[in-house]
């Protein structure tokens, strides 16, 4: 089907996944409010949210299976890049909702709001991936962020959660400010907020100068906040540690993925013409992020905090793809985000499970002997850690190779070497969890009860399966990712030159 936007209905069709998910979120909100207040209907609402995600996935699949748009300059892109990213967001949201089920019920959180916020935040992410206009990106970013601010502070009875929410909100507001100001300056310089028009304007070389460069710098700062790149990462560890663990998983995986997808589209499509102006800065940010994230993660004694720094480090690896700025790197970024979302949520699911068993425990000591006490969870956690470390046989390895390929193609030798050297550093802290799990004796404890719900096990199985699949037979996913970036950087005919 061809979307030519002759009728207003075409806009609805182009935004079908977002429309479905927003409507569903509202239904859940209403059901949550009309239900009882003691959290009893929590589980049902969670399952209902999953149905909404499934519906959105179907809509996404419909768009994927051959819906095309006329031209390539509309505010909303109907391209495979967006749809591939949507798969990642929907998968991430589904996983996070499942691992939240037991948590929400146990902490007696208000389920209606919780799941509705998660769906709305996901809608925001999907907008960010689809936007061909800086304003839409901003709208999506705010929709996502406001949902996640609330989620981070959702556990009101927990002071750390409230602190996390406030901290995230304050710094997030800053980031939004930077981003908005950047948009304004770029608009001032190029006369448009449309990414393609900007691309054409900067490609001619007609537009340059301080106004544009300042705008680009502010955009970069705004995005760097959202992907928690060094030195804009300060909020990350505290927020990740304080927020409820399932929400942390959501932030570390999906939110970061959404920010990267928008970052990529703005910089690689819109600002490709001024690559010379920004690549050096991103080079340094990527290096700093990889080094600081990995080095600081070495000394963390809380697994949640360690994973927070690890997610900073992964942000650094992903930034390498932006610096490389070629099709291989863009596809590598998508593939990496897919794998990263799965393995990170998997790891956080285990953190939730350990926390369930020893109240609130995310200290590394709580993992002593965990593997032998819970062999299934232990094996999964080991797999996720190996994947995060980028070990062969797991998706994390293939993703890293893909990123490296992009970097090598762009002849970024030094950045590639920095990437692998910092990867070696990361082995230490990932292995440390593994040795606590398998090689340390734990003191006797009595309160052994298995309260890891069946649904979490399903998510873990699915995540582990995906990690192994992308690690051993990555071919199919790779090709989808390559297909997704095909033509992405091509600025519409008549508006500029080819890639």
């Amino acid at each position: 089907m061809l979307l030519d936007y002759t009728s207003g209905f075409h806009y609805v069709l182009a935004l079908l996944p977002e429309v479905v998910l927003s409507a569903w979120g509202m239904v859940i909100l209403v059901l949550g409010v009309s239900g009882k207040r003691d959290g009893a209907p929590g589980q049902e609402l969670g399952w209902l949210a999953l149905v909404g995600i499934a519906a959105a996935a179907i809509a996404n699949g419909w768009l994927y299976s051959g819906v095309t748009e006329e031209g390539a300059a509309a505010m909303i892109a109907v391209d495979k890049f967006r749809l591939f990213a949507n798969w990642i967001f929907l998968l991430g949201a589904a996983f996070c909702i499942v691992i939240s089920l037991a948590y929400v019920a146990r902490q007696k959180l208000q389920a209606g709001e919780y799941y509705a916020l998660m769906l709305f935040a996901t809608v925001g992410m999907m907008f960010m991936a689809s936007a061909r206009d800086l304003m839409i990106i901003f709208l999506g970013l705010e929709l996502m962020s406001i949902g996640v601010y609330a989620l981070a502070g959702f556990n009101r009875r927990d002071r750390r959660s409230a602190e996390a929410g406030l901290k995230y909100f304050l710094l997030g507001a800053f980031a939004s400010g930077f981003l908005l100001f950047g948009i304004a300056l770029v608009y001032g310089a190029t006369g448009s907020t449309n990414i393609h028009s900007i691309a054409v304007a900067v490609q001619d070389g007609a537009v340059a100068g301080r106004l544009l460069v300042s705008g680009v710098a502010l955009l970069a700062v705004g995005f760097a906040f959202k992907v928690s790149a060094v030195p804009f990462h300060m909020w990350t560890p505290d927020v990740y540690e304080g927020a409820p663990a399932p929400v942390t998983a959501f932030m570390a995986a999906s939110v970061k993925a959404a920010a990267f997808v928008a970052f990529l589209r703005v910089f690689l499509v819109g600002l490709d013409g001024v690559y010379d102006q920004w690549w050096g800065v991103l080079w340094w940010i990527a290096t700093a992020t990889m080094v600081v994230g990995n080095v600081v993660a070495l000394v963390q004694s809380s697994v949640k905090r360690m994973l927070a720094y690890s997610s900073v480090a992964h942000g650094g690896y992903l930034l390498v793809a932006l610096v490389a700025a070629n099709d291989a790197a863009a596809a590598g970024l998508l593939f990496y985000l897919l794998v990263y979302t799965v393995m990170n949520i998997g790891a956080f699911a285990i953190v939730v499970a350990v926390g369930n068993q020893s109240e609130g425990g995310s200290r590394i000591e709580d993992y002593r002997d965990f593997g032998w006490r819970k062999p299934v969870l232990g094996v999964f956690m080991t797999l996720f850690l190996l994947s995060l470390a980028g070990f062969p046989g797991t998706g994390g390895f293939m993703a890293k190779v893909f990123l490296l390929q992009g970097a090598m193609e762009a002849r970024l030798w030094r950045l590639s070497v920095i990437l692998v050297v910092t990867t070696v550093i990361s082995y230490w802290y990932y292995l440390r969890v593994a040795w606590f799990m398998w090689m340390k004796k734990a003191p006797e404890r009595k309160d052994e009860q298995n309260i890891t719900p069946f649904a979490t096990h399903v998510v873990l199985f699915a995540a582990a399966g995906l990690i192994l699949l992308t690690g051993i037979f990555p071919g199919a996913a790779l090709e989808l990712a390559l297909e997704a970036v095909e033509g992405l950087r091509y600025v519409a005919a008549g508006m500029g030159t080819g890639p």
């Binding site: 190996l386 070990f391 062969p392 070696v424 082995y427 398998w438 090689m439």
Partner: protein, 521 residues
């Protein structure tokens, strides 16, 4: 024999069976009841060994890479699941399939806890190692190369001694540093070859300038040098050996170290022929090899812990491999290969014997023993033969390898060979006192009077090992015949580069006329 093997399509399935058989065994072990795990693991590995023996006859040494097969693996990158076997990998594979059941059998008493996990990891390790030796695709090679780290990390870390975690992590990180840089180097060649393929032949065809070759050589040499280990990258080895459980030490010494030396022969020499002939590179590698031999021998001589002593002898032996390989002569390469096999067998056996001592006395300190020969004659016999093979006494496998390696080195680097030859004397200096203090001195400690001799299981383990050491020592021709042509091809490739860049022959698999070697015996 060959016809018999071909009648059931041996050529078609053997390599795949050797790579994936252990994984099947691993799943079987995991599904089996705890008490039967060790028997199941042993049977799987023994069957795989018997099956792999067919390679001895089925492999035709003159024909380049045999049994090649490839299936597209990751199409968009051009990576393939490609396996192949030549005269170099033949022996490495046989060594692996031979030592794995022996190590498993040797662990029956040592490993008492968490047996299912242990045997599953042992079999997974076998898959990784065999995969390394058979891969004909660089990405696949890398995956297997790294895959071996995980099982070894857990074997050392869970079943090891008191400082096991330190040793396991050190082992893991050391080896990972090198191999990740190698990954960057592999990708560099992948892009500069322009073939969009990770296939071994495509990498051979890559046209690299001398500067590029030197940098890439450095990355590969670091990865393999740490694995071998070449002095000064050896410090992880004594720790890992001392802390590892007996079967872990056996596999580590017998097989894992060989992956590094194999990398020298399979990748380093053919890929960077100009770099390996660069005078500085040769000098550096020769020096490191010689220093490794001498230094390790001296350090070994003062070790109070017998296991640590043997660990250092590994470093010394691998020094002979290094000088043999970088001599870039037929004798040197063949000698290096025989040292690899011989060291695998003899050092593996020494670790088994030390494990048996530890099981009996719960100590490995040399001073706690003495006069064992009087109470345990069979044990003493095996120990003496193995120690002599390790020293390199004529008539044992050690002699053949070290002699050839020294001969080969002497042809091109006389000084290095002369100094390295001193290492053979030092070997006697550290090994014989240990033998004397353990086996012969006064039977002073009362616990040693009840030192039980070998059990039937232990005799079954040691007999084939001792027989192999003597066989190679007395009649090495069948071994040398099989590795000869493959070694020649590596050298042809290296020497082809001597005449200039234009004549680089991409097809290592194509054998030139009239280069059949005389076997050295």
């Amino acid at each position: 024999m060959t016809d018999l093997l071909n009648s059931f399509g041996y050529e078609a399935w053997i390599l795949h069976a050797l790579v994936w058989g252990p994984v099947a065994g691993m799943l079987h072990v995991l599904a089996a009841p705890k008490d039967r795990a060790k028997h199941i693991a042993f049977r799987w590995s023994a069957v795989l060994f018997v099956v792999s023996l067919g390679l001895w006859w089925a492999f035709d040494p003159s024909g380049g890479f045999a049994f090649r097969s490839s299936v597209p693996w990751i199409r968009s990158w051009g990576a393939e699941y490609a396996l192949g076997l030549d005269g170099i990998s033949l022996f490495m594979v046989l060594l692996t399939t031979f030592m794995t059941p022996i190590a498993i059998l040797g662990s029956f008493k040592y490993v008492q806890s968490r047996r299912r996990a242990f045997y599953a990891l042992m079999l997974l390790l076998e898959t990784g190692v065999v995969g390394v030796f058979l891969s004909m695709d660089l990405l696949l090679f890398y995956v297997f190369f790294e895959l071996t780290l995980v099982p070894m990390y857990f074997i050392v870390g869970i079943w090891g001694g008191t400082r096991r975690i330190y040793a396991a992590v050190k082992f893991f990180i050391y080896t990972a540093v090198g191999s990740l840089l190698m990954l960057v180097a592999i990708l560099y060649i992948y892009f500069s070859s322009g073939a969009d393929s990770f296939a071994y032949d495509a990498f051979l065809a890559a046209d690299l300038t001398l500067t590029e070759q030197l940098w890439l050589f450095a990355a590969f040499a670091l990865a393999f040098g740490i694995k071998v280990p070449v002095f000064p990258f050896h410090t992880w080895l004594p720790d890992a050996h001392v802390e590892a459980p007996t079967p872990g030490s056996v596999i580590l010494a017998a097989v894992l170290l060989k992956m590094g030396a194999y990398g020298f022969l399979r990748l380093l020499l053919p890929f960077f022929p100009h770099a390996v002939q660069h005078p500085t590179v040769v000098t550096v590698m020769m020096t490191l090899g010689v220093v490794g031999i001498i230094y390790a021998a001296w350090v070994a001589a003062v070790q109070p812990d017998a296991k640590k002593l043997v660990a250092y002898t590994s470093v010394a032996h691998m020094g002979f491999v290094v000088i043999g390989v970088f001599a870039l002569t037929v004798n040197g390469l063949q000698g290096g290969l025989v040292v690899m096999i011989s060291h695998g067998v003899s050092t593996g056996t020494l670790f088994l014997l030390l494990g048996m001592m530890y099981e009996r006395r719960k100590t490995r300190l040399i001073q706690d023993f003495g006069g064992i020969a009087r109470v345990a004659p069979f044990f003493a016999t095996a120990f003496v033969i193995t120690a002599l093979a390790s020293i390199g006494l004529p008539g044992t496998s050690g002699f053949v390898g070290e002699f050839l390696a020294l001969l080969g080195a002497f042809e091109t680097h006389a000084t290095a060979a002369v100094i390295a030859a001193l290492g053979v004397i030092f070997a006697a200096y550290y090994m014989l006192p240990m033998v004397q203090r353990i086996l012969f001195n006064e039977l002073s400690e009362p616990e040693n009077r009840t030192f039980p001799d070998l059990s039937r299981r232990e005799k079954v383990i040691l007999t084939p090992l001792v027989a192999l050491m003597i066989w190679i020592g007395v009649h090495p021709t069948p071994f040398l015949d099989r590795m000869g042509p493959s070694v020649d091809r590596v050298l042809e490739r290296v020497e082809g580069a001597r005449t200039g860049f234009a004549s680089l022959t991409p097809e290592l698999g194509v054998r030139l006329e009239g280069s059949i070697p005389e076997s050295e015996d």
